[in-house]
């Protein structure tokens, strides 16, 4: 196959990937987009196979074996994962992407001739820089994603882990990486050892960067790591002079970056402050003033009575709904209300849950029509006309302190203005503080009724008594 044809076909697969993302602009076109994405991948794969230098049967079988092993694992994971666990799944996939970038950079470093990177027996400086960058970004993506996965899966405490002098440690590690890179570029004889040191230190850096970031910041972290995995691929694309990789890497990189930006805006936090980590430090360790204000606590029967007599209800789901896997019971409750002619809609805050769009997927799984689901800006003014705001598993995203208390850590964050509804029903396991470690004034309002129970059990109980 000629070089030009090869490059054109790689370009074609890049175009298919663009269309795959473009398809996601609406649920109707999204599935076609996904098939186009698969086709793009198939094109890239086929072109590469047809251009193989060593197309002996044994080698092809080895390639098929590798793909079969990976394919089986991937297929198994994709069928098995619960929708509530999608953030973990994405973190796991991110880590794979990061690791592939590291390994391909290593492969290129060890046999540069295979990739045409040698000039007079030495690796060209530009290629070397690209490989080092690929290793660096790929390794951070890998270890960072692994930590994010462990935190999301509950295998590691999701609270921020704050090491003493963590910034000093991270910067020192970065400095050593830069120094080793300099030695390699200066032509050191021990380049393989240095390459290994850089790989290990980059892995360490990814770990150091993610352990201080707490659970509720995970939407940003996942989006950032997603972006890194894209850029790692793009960098490798430069090393391999491969169009498909460069285009795709840029797409994925900007996708992740935009999602991180959306999440940061939704939390009114600067990108920098999330990356520096340690959010919620003040609230957790400090002595809290014991709250003495009265709270109205209701039963499922009370809630059912209020809901039955409402004419419009807005549901505000949050991470608690995902944890309790309450989406189906919630849907059943809503169906009963709808049968009675009550208007029910859903309001979703951009950072509800643990990743962008997390709540939407869960509601889709429970068969909630997506026309019933509204974003923050679309629905916020409707709360004033609503009879009931039904908050299930959300907390900080409804906290009025974000508007009224300049000292609050979440001050300035856009919130769902549930306090404007005639009655607020707040499903929560206990009266504990939210992730940000701050009290929610909403609990003590006249028109708020707390429903203290597991989100799933409460929805079922309410359904039963409607």
């Amino acid at each position: 196959m000629s070089v030009d044809l090869t490059a054109s076909l790689y370009l074609l697969s890049g175009v298919f990937f663009i269309l795959a993302i473009r398809g996601l602009s609406s649920p109707e076109t999204a599935r076609i987009g996904n098939y186009l994405g698969m086709s793009g991948m198939l094109i890239a794969f086929t072109v590469t196979i047809l251009n193989l230098e060593d197309n002996s049967l044994s080698n092809l079988l080895l390639i098929v074996a590798g793909i079969t092993i990976g394919g089986l694992i991937g297929t198994f994971l994709s069928k098995k994962v619960a929708m509530t666990d999608m953030p973990q799944m994405v973190a796991a996939l991110n880590s794979m992407g990061g690791m592939s970038a590291v390994l391909v950079a290593w492969a290129a470093f060890l046999s540069p001739a295979a990739f045409g990177l040698e000039i007079n027996g030495y690796i060209a400086t530009a290629s070397m820089v690209e490989m080092l960058l690929g290793i660096f970004v790929g390794a951070i993506t890998f270890s960072g994603s692994v930590i994010a996965f462990l935190k999301l899966q509950g295998l590691m405490k999701s609270a921020p882990v704050i090491l003493p002098l963590r910034h000093v440690i991270s910067i020192s590690v970065l400095f050593v990486i830069l120094f080793c890179s300099y030695l390699i570029l200066a032509g050191s004889q021990n380049d393989q050892l240095l390459f290994l040191i850089i790989s290990v230190l980059s892995l360490t850096l990814g770990l150091l960067l993610i352990i201080p970031i707490g659970g509720a910041d995970m939407p940003v972290v996942i989006a950032v790591l997603n972006s890194y995995s894209g850029f790692a691929a793009a960098i490798i694309g430069f090393t391999l002079n491969n169009l498909a990789l460069v285009i795709t890497g840029a797409l994925v990189g900007s996708s992740g970056a935009i999602l991180s930006y959306i999440m940061c805006v939704a939390m009114n936090r600067s990108f920098f402050s999330v990356i520096m980590g340690g959010f919620g430090e003040e609230g957790i360790g400090g002595e809290k003033v014991k709250e003495t204000r009265p709270v109205k606590i209701g039963s499922a029967d009370d809630a059912a009575f209020i809901l039955k007599n409402a004419s419009s209800v807005i549901i505000v789901p949050g991470y608690g709904m995902a944890v309790a896997r309450a989406q189906n019971s919630l849907k059943e409750m809503v169906d009963k209300l709808k049968e009675m002619g009550i208007k029910v809609t859903y309001a979703i805050h951009p950072v509800a849950g643990r990743m962008p769009g997390h709540m939407n997927v869960l509601l889709a799984e429970a068969d909630v029509p997506y026309d019933d689901i509204y974003e923050l800006t679309e629905i916020n003014s409707d709360f004033a006309q609503a009879d009931v705001a039904f908050v299930i598993g959300a907390n900080d995203v409804t906290n009025p302190a974000a508007k009224s208390d300049p000292n609050s850590p979440i001050f300035g964050m856009p919130i769902l203005e549930v306090e404007n509804a005639k009655t607020v029903l707040f499903v929560k396991r206990s009266l504990g503080i939210g992730y940000a470690g701050i009290d929610n004034d909403l609990f003590y309002q006249e028109n708020t009724m707390m429903l203290l129970d597991d989100a799933k059990k409460m929805s079922e109980d309410i359904s039963a008594s409607i």
């Binding site: 649920p27 060593d54 990976g70 994971l77 999608m86 794979m96 001739a113 460069v246 996708s255």
Partner: protein
């Protein structure tokens, strides 16, 4: 005078970032989770690099290690491709169900 590969691929990279920027803003927030899983899948096009490394006639210790390393890269990237596309498909199927129901 020939343009250097770095500038050539750099130009494409910059333009692709702009394409990505506009295309991603057009994605509906309801589909942000599928967006993340599908971008995971497509970034695994790095499998191309793994296959190239697997498919070269190499010799010596570093050549052998290179092949082993790229074999693992191949596995990781395949997990990403299959896992990413299939889980995206599974999510999108759930959105489809409801469109049908509404029509009925």
């Amino acid at each position: 005078m020939d343009i250097s590969p770095l500038v050539y691929y750099g130009s494409i990279f910059v333009l692709a970032i702009f394409v990505g920027y506009y295309v991603v803003w057009s994605v509906t927030p309801a589909l942000h989770t599928p967006l993340m899983s599908v971008t995971n899948a497509i970034s695994a096009v790095i499998i191309v690099g793994a296959i190239i490394a697997m498919g070269t006639e190499s010799s010596g210790t570093s050549g052998t290690i290179s092949k082993i390393v790229s074999f693992f890269a191949l596995i990781f990237a395949s997990v990403n491709i299959f896992g990413g596309f299939l889980v995206t498909q599974r999510m999108l199927e759930m959105y489809k169900k409801k469109v049908k129901k509404d029509v009925e």
